[in-house]
Symmetry: C2
Subunit: 428 residues, 2 copies
């Protein structure tokens, strides 16, 4: 007589939409040599989980465990790990049972050309957690494929902290809460990525350096820009958790740059705007800037007034809807930058080639390479614990930690924007 496999409590998504259940399902097993099984401490509910929840996600309607943000403890290692892993990413040799880990929202092999270049979000072997192809983390256990390329070992900061010469990593790790570390799985690196794409774009070089376009090596006598032209104007569209992270990351970088700046943070929901302004008020050392939260229509007026009609240097689009792209196009200045980290689907783009030509628009689309952004995001997390550090306070990024038994109600309330960011404790 076959023995029943051991079971766990897990959230399950059912087609076609708005059907979230909590069920008893088998605990995942190692199926490939590079797999690791992680016992979940906390798993996040993310805005992009709502795409599937609302039924506007993938065509594959197979029921599955959702969730792509988690922190936990290694409980099983595949056969690749340990002494046989010479020449492979270091984590294959060093990871041990009991290590505390956080994972980016997609797996990545760590060994292909994309991974070597740091484009970890485009590893050909990468899979998003919480899809029909790979069960997610809103459960008691999760299987992590390609775990030696994917995971961050928080118990062994030496394995990744060589990129953080200025942070006292061990001390930081001892003081930062798990709910705060969980932000590293997706929303914080995604916000940092949006900001990095905009601030590293060559179209910002004239403002940042004070030397007129084009950027040019060896030109010491080039046209210099008067200081009154060097105020930076940004818009951030979408003030969900990623938008908040992007806002804090942007303020942090602009404070370091030292130029005067103006940021308009935009959301249709008044409660999110109020929250965002409160969070800005909490940021110490925010440099020489102005920060306001506005509705889309108000933002059009604000940007017109600020820039005498010309528009923003850069717009960060964190929504993933055509209306957000339309607003971004309208708000950006000619020769400006739109960085879009929102998850877009099949609708037509709300502009044609002529519109883009006529305004010299630059676009950066797509998913954050979270694995590669981790050190920058971790540094910001440590530096800005006044914002990221507290759960359940009015301005916290994490609204509440609840039992997975409340998953159906939390999905409903999050979809209606009645709650902020929710984390599940699967053992409560």
């Amino acid at each position: 007589m076959a023995q029943e496999p051991p079971t766990q409590k897990a959230v399950r998504w059912y087609p076609p939409s708005y059907d979230i259940r909590v069920e008893s399902v088998p605990i995942p097993e190692i199926t490939e040599p590079d797999d690791v099984i992680v016992k979940i401490k906390l798993a996040g509910l993310c805005g992009s989980d709502l795409h599937a929840y609302r039924g506007d996600g993938d065509d594959d309607m197979t029921p599955h465990i959702p969730g792509h943000e988690f922190i936990g403890e290694v409980v099983k290692l595949g056969s690749s790990f340990g002494e046989h892993a010479t020449g492979r990413p270091g984590l294959y040799s060093s990871l041990k049972i009991g290590d505390k880990v956080v994972s980016p929202f997609t797996t990545n092999c760590g060994e292909c050309r994309a991974c070597r270049l740091g484009i970890t979000c485009r590893c050909p072997q990468g899979t998003l957690f919480g899809c029909p192809a790979l069960d997610g983390a809103q459960a008691q256990y999760v299987r992590v494929p390609k775990a030696g390329g994917t995971l961050f070992n928080l118990s062994d900061p030496k394995s990744w902290s060589d990129l953080l010469p200025n942070a006292n990593v061990a001390e930081a790790l001892s003081t930062i809460s798990d709910s705060s570390l969980l932000l590293l799985a997706d929303i914080l690196p995604t916000g940092v990525f949006a900001v990095a794409q905009a601030l590293n774009h060559p179209k910002l070089v004239p403002i940042l350096t004070g030397v007129a376009w084009p950027p040019r090596e060896g030109s010491t006598t080039a046209n210099t820009i008067p200081s009154e032209d060097r105020t930076l104007t940004f818009a951030i569209i979408g003030l969900g958790p990623v938008g908040i992270c992007a806002s804090v990351a942007l303020v942090d970088r602009l404070a370091a740059i030292g130029l005067p700046y103006r940021i308009v943070a935009i959301d249709t929901y008044a409660a999110r705007r109020e929250n965002m302004e409160k969070i800005f008020g909490q940021i110490s050392n925010h440099g020489n800037g102005e920060f306001v939260a506005r509705s889309p229509e108000e933002a059009r007026t604000t940007v017109k007034e600020w820039t005498s009609g010309s528009g923003c240097n850069a717009v960060l689009e964190v929504v993933g809807h055509p209306s957000a792209l339309t607003l971004a196009y309208d708000l950006v200045q000619p020769f400006g930058i739109i960085t879009s980290v929102g998850v877009h689907g099949k609708p037509q783009l709300p502009f044609n080639g002529g519109n883009l030509y006529d305004k010299n628009v630059s676009f950066d689309f797509g998913r954050c390479p979270a694995r590669a952004m981790f050190p920058m995001a971790f540094e910001l997390l440590v530096k800005r614990q006044d914002v990221f550090g507290q759960v359940g306070t009015p301005t916290s990024l994490v609204d509440r930690i609840v039992s997975v038994d409340q998953a159906a109600e939390m999905y409903r309330a999050f979809d209606k924007r009645e709650v902020g960011k929710v984390l599940f404790d699967p053992w409560e």
Copy 2:
């Protein structure tokens, strides 16, 4: 009895399409204080003139003189010029009757914030030459509005050569032909601009520096990329005159960078591909690279073979048609760059937001700020006279110099790709 105004010979465009005439029309007069009248020595016929020729241009169907590329001599100055121009762009004080000038294809005031930043193509007062709003240069004379912001004074290289510390400007000017200098009006800076946008893009930083994404100041121990991953792969779509300029500019920059590279230059016309390969053969010191010209279908295979299916680091799109954007999308690697300097119109873009998200595509669209790119383009022109220097040779960018009397036939033949770049001598 009113005296008849003096007349000139000019090309005229008539609606709706394919109707080019040569007529006797009044010589333009100074109408604004910032105007200059230029006596044309040579005027170019450009690929973008064909948009109006074919009737797929602007909605305004007023007959007008086309042409936005010219070199000539100042014959009249508006009242702003001379001793009263203190505090304005230097050219208002220094320009004199008889000076030899070249102009970018659009006017720009030189005094607004866009002009100060070097975004001269987006000056709110800028106008394209050769439109209903401003007669063009395929004539004996042209009126240049905002001339103190717009023109380059080739008789006074000190007024712009401070950006060219390494070029012996005066000597270069004495040896370079007018037909070669005319390339500075549009096609050479546009090609240089396309290349500069791609090579300055942050997504190329990992390859150029050998340090994995994200670009990060102060990180000395970051992940380094093995040299075998640092071969650059580019595609250039469209081998008309701008595509040739972009190809030469790209090879020039890649030779200076020194990394191994592969370029596939793409056109549907075999004659253009053959010509492009011959031109590459003429480029001395072309670095450590491979350069092939291919049809669109062949190019898909070539890029697949070169990159094991992943795609190009960057694609330069110089055509201005949705099919070229489709090809660019297909050829670019995930996390790659598409720089589009082709003039696009009202057709829908051939991809949706999901396509762009799924591939992390970056786009740079739009018109070259030719005024600002002039020094870089001039430097390349001087350096690569082996390519740019000769008229009428099989591999020259300038196919022939003809009388404006041949305008109708030349438009027809250029539209049919029976001739290469044509310049008009309006005095012949």
